[in-house]
Amino acid sequence: MLEAHDLAARRGHARLFSGMGLRVRAGEALVVTGPNGCGKTTLLRVLAGLTLPDAGEIRLDGERRAAGSPELRAASTYCGHAHAIKDDLSARENLASLAALSGEPADDAALDAALDRVALRGRQALPARALSQGQRRRIALARLALSRRRVWILDEPATALDGDGVATLEALVAAHLERDGLAVVATHAPLALPAARSRSMVLGG
């Protein structure tokens, strides 16, 4: 279970939110929506530990954890606006490299399966600069397919994906929730997640 109490954050001098609380149980997805600039990305970065909040605390399984503490990092996968993809490496190399970096190294069979899952198998040897935006986003999806971390923090994961890609994303998140994982997803495009397992939260506005 991931909880946050009394979170406050600002960007520059603008206060984005304060007194914000949230609770996501195992097997549950929290979908964060709201207008541009309301602080969705900042909230997710705070939860991932990239941005320090002005105030408030984060609890994982009831234990208070400092933002960005090793315990939080070891429990979560963050997928941001930038996909962390290197133009000069192939899709497969990018995926293997990212998986190792996040502490979940994958063997050849797992890489094959993940690339299959996102329909990039035929393109896996091409340097990433030859891929389209949507295909690059699919590499990020393949990383999710490999991740068994409990907490997924996804910032606009559907950007640049086609209908097929969005369906894959939805299936990946649904499978993650089935495994008792939990997810916090910021999105503009409505995602078809299992209704019983997802809640939504509107920021700002």
């Binding site: 530990g49 070891a74 979560s76 490299s97 996040s102 502490g103 340097p127």
Partner: protein
């Protein structure tokens, strides 16, 4: 579900080594794919070194005196030229975020990146030194001392430069600011590095200069990755 266990010293060390090896291997692989960028830096070094004899005088004694200083200043400029590449690309494409979130310690990953930076920009300069010293008429032993001082000194340039590169992430006009920030830090390295060759030619021992460079290298290798990693976290916040 395994992860970093910070209370476990062995696990911490293994994680640090794994992080260092990962970053080193990845940056070297990317550098090999973008060889032209590296060639530009080596070519820059070669051109600057060649310009001085053309611009000053063909007089043998003057060149002999100028040589070590010119070679060192050129090495320093070549290092400075390559520094923005160290973190900027990873910052722009989000890799730096993932590095900060990795269970491996960030200073270890940064160390690996710095090591790759030296291997791809510092080491070629060291290896090129005997050739670059030719126009200045340095003899074999003097070239040996110069090579030794460069081998000890150029890693310090990469280490100190990494702090500057991390501090100027996301700043407008980062290149110029980086030079202003880092060049003063390079001064002691320059003095002891070029000084080693001068001391040798004057018949004095070179031990003192090289020992100081070695001590500087150890201090920088221990401290700089932590400072650079802290600066990276600030840039990401």
């Amino acid at each position: 579900m395994s992860g970093a266990r910070p209370q476990d010293a062995d696990g911490e060390r293994d994680g640090a080594l794994a992080g260092l090896a990962w970053a080193l291997a990845r940056d070297l692989r990317i550098a090999l794919r973008t060889r032209s960028e590296l060639a530009v830096i080596v070519a820059f070094y070669a051109v600057v070194v060649t310009l001085f004899p053309l611009a000053t005088t063909p007089d043998r004694n003057t060149l002999l005196t100028l040589g070590p200083g010119v070679l060192w200043v050129s090495a320093l400029l070549a290092s400075l030229l390559s520094l923005p590449r160290l973190f900027a690309a990873d910052f722009a494409d989000g890799t730096l975020e993932q590095m900060a979130l990795s269970p491996w310690p960030l200073p270890a990953i940064v160390s690996g990146k710095i090591a790759a930076h030296w291997l791809t920009t510092g080491l070629p300069v060291v290896l090129l030194a005997p050739l670059a010293a030719l126009p200045y008429g340095l003899d074999g032993d003097a070239i040996g001392v110069l090579g030794a001082s460069l081998a000890l000194g150029t890693p310090i340039l990469s280490l100190l430069g990494a702090i500057g590169a991390a501090l100027t992430l996301g700043v407008r006009g980062a290149g110029g600011l980086l030079a202003l920030l880092v060049l003063p830090l390079y001064v002691p390295v320059l003095i002891f590095g070029a000084g080693a060759v001068d001391a040798f030619r004057a018949g004095l021992g070179v031990d003192a200069n090289l020992s100081l460079l070695g001590a500087g290298l150890i201090a920088a290798a221990v401290g700089a990755p932590f400072a650079a990693a802290a600066a990276v976290r600030i840039a990401l916040d």
